[in-house]
Symmetry: C2
Subunit: 437 residues, 2 copies
């Protein structure tokens, strides 16, 4: 089949915020380039946003703007809707409505995909339309396309990702400028690198959303976000970076998933990575995803994970792919690489069963015999010590004791910590940073 009779393809855009504005800009500025590559033009016909004043920021003609979703949903000429509203119930409603109306959907909504993705993919399948979401994970990096199509012949064994720019920006600043978390966060907020409510970024939830999507695709089994173990970076101190440096590690908020036999392990937490590994060099607001496949070996993709225009390039690439399929009158590849009807729920490995090395920072009273008590609790729980660092003694003050362990079972480690944190000489909850190597 050739594209002899090409229908005029119209797009409806929901949300004229940072990414929506970028999509409008790119579709306008690169109109000719896209049309040349695609073989025909595509056009944004209507834009829906509750705040019509936003149109001024992106030179959108006011005639294209509406505040009523139905102006787009009910327009029979619009065959692709782009949802860039963010994590609000209305976003999910609009996507469901659009799919049920036989319209294709492009979205960047990682929160809704991580929570309701399978339901939306099933809806797309039922209505014989496509849903694509490259921009939901790692902005400009075409990692979903790469896993779905580039690595289609391989079995993926594990994924490690730095996929939240805000958290990585904060950790990089802490590391390079030897500053504490709260001071860096404040600066990041002032500079626009962190939102006024940064919880989702610094508590790891945004990273968990993306890991859920990545892992579902990589292993062909649904990894629900509420099964992803999630821990943020708020307890990391400048002292931890000092120690990391001493032991040859970087500290990153890492998304980790692994296929171990028939189980999937999925977790997000601050992680120490050996400095010589590529991921350790990912600085500032950049993202990177390392995929480890049976045949490809180690493969990494790196780039900007957020920002108006970088993220918009991924949205527009999805629009173009769907437009091409509309013109060819075919459906695209299933969004997760597998038919949703054939995707089982992943069997999630209990966090107790994972194995890791650990960095432990104990805060103790400076009394003789403290370390012996700690070592005793670790030993009795089969956690063996690899290195120890005791801070110079200062009379009558709290001091940190740092222990790095050999590979241990999480279950044993948690038992040991429970005992240790109960000791009277321990004055603060122990900080745990897992080590990947």
């Amino acid at each position: 089949m050739t594209m002899s009779r090409i229908p005029q393809i119209y797009v409806g855009l929901f949300g004229l915020g940072t990414v929506g504005g970028g999509v409008y800009t790119i579709m306008e500025k690169n109109r000719e380039l896209i049309s040349k590559k695609l073989g025909f033009p595509i056009q944004i016909k209507k834009i829906c946003d509750p705040d019509p004043k936003k149109s001024k920021n992106f030179h959108v003609p006011s005639s294209a703007l509406t505040t009523k979703p139905n102006d787009i949903l009910d327009d029979p000429e619009i065959s692709i809707i782009v949802e860039l509203i963010g994590d609000k119930p209305v976003a999910r409603e609009i996507m469901s409505s659009a799919l049920n109306l036989g319209k294709h959907v492009v979205t960047a909504n990682k929160a809704i995909l991580a929570q309701h993705g399978p339901e939306l993919y099933a809806l797309a399948s039922k209505n014989e339309v496509d849903i694509l979401f490259e921009a939901a994970v790692a902005g400009s990096i075409p990692i979903l396309r790469s896993i779905r199509e580039g690595f289609i012949a391989d079995s993926i064994k594990s994924i490690q990702g730095i996929i939240n720019g805000t958290a990585n920006f904060i950790l990089t600043e802490m590391s390079e400028k030897k500053r504490d978390f709260s001071a860096v966060l404040l600066d990041a907020q002032k500079a626009g690198f962190a939102e006024s409510n940064p919880a989702s970024d610094i508590e790891g939830h945004d990273t968990a959303h993306k890991l859920s999507i990545l892992s579902t695709m990589a292993y062909g089994a649904i990894v629900p976000v509420d099964k992803v173990y999630t821990e943020g970076i708020t307890n990391i101190t400048a002292f931890d970076f000092e120690m990391a440096e001493r032991f040859g590690y970087s500290i990153k908020l890492l998304a980790i998933s692994k296929k171990i036999n028939d189980e999937i392990e999925a977790r997000v937490h601050p992680t120490m990575i050996p400095k010589e590994q590529m991921l350790a060099s990912v600085r500032g607001a950049y993202n990177a995803i390392l995929v480890n496949g049976e045949y490809i070996g180690q493969s990494m993709q790196y780039g900007l994970g957020a920002g108006s225009l970088p993220t918009a390039t991924a949205v527009v690439a999805d629009i173009v792919e769907i437009a091409r399929n509309i013109a060819l009158r075919v459906r695209g590849v299933p969004p997760m690489g597998y038919r949703i009807e054939e995707m089982p729920k992943a069997k999630i490995r209990s966090m107790e069963d994972i194995e890791s090395s650990y960095y432990l920072r104990f805060t103790t009273q400076d009394k003789p015999g403290v370390f012996a008590k700690i070592a005793n609790a670790l030993g009795q729980n089969h956690v063996s010590i690899s290195s120890v660092y005791q801070h110079g003694r200062e009379e009558d003050k709290e001091i940190p004791i740092v222990v790095v362990t050999h590979l241990s079972k999480e279950k044993n480690m948690m038992m040991a910590l429970k005992e240790i944190d109960r000791l009277s000489v321990i004055t603060q909850k122990t900080t745990v940073i897992r080590i990947e190597s």
Copy 2:
């Protein structure tokens, strides 16, 4: 259109060498996985190789093996041929024949694509079949797919690539073990990391082939390989690495192309890269490609660029993509992202017009006034010096003098070097390493 009536799709494979064997292995071992993702099975029906004994290495049933190309070309059941013969005229003949017979082609043949690609793409277009070649550049890294589809909405401004594993392995060993080129090459040959005839790898030709393909796709204009300035790594010494370390650089064989106004700059040469850049950390046989786009910003992909199974994953991904299109009765995206009929020849920027900083290693007699003569020649040609290193003096011996320049025009630099190399105190041709920053 749905895939209700799926034709059985058969593949014919030419060349059962390293990559061909890998393709057979993956198609066998991941038969179910591929069939599940694709929705139907695909099968290698025949394999053509002049040496039937190779079949034993990969457990190929001898009934599938032939030494006669026409056993595959004339088989009407075979709709996809996979060409993995290498840089021999017969490879081009087989691809041309297959395309003319209406068969789709998958190849990893960078040499033939760099020299005769446009002719083959036109043949595919004329015969309404597809030709794909992800494995031709950077093995397991899906960089061509990413440029063609992931970055479809963007204008690419430049590419920098470490895309020859052998050269990078040698340079990494030289750097980390402080050894000289020829000793490392010998070891690499023994260990199987370099071929017995390593010319194409160490002289930069293989890198130039791949840069020609990458650049043609990135800029949508044909960049013929004979227009790519190409220089190998054979003149780099352990001393150059010592100096690079001192100035904060790594030395890599870099493929560089840039779009500057309406001209394309394309060159391959040993290059100093600041150590803090991601490309500087690419060690051993790994490949990496950094794409700089107007909207995506910096984007890098990293992975194994060679080897049987990593490269085969890319070949099989192409087979799967074509099989899907056959089942849907559609043509794929044009191989270079643009219709070949609409691709102009690139206007190649003359090497004289490029701008770079330079590392210059002069070998001189140790006499007073030598540096003044060098500095004078550089100054008169408008090349300004950024740093200088003079080796400790040793009576009556040749000594190296190292100069790092500010950004200069290549033309001026070459004029200066011509004058300097003519000086009687200069005892060897000066080594030039360009610096990217």
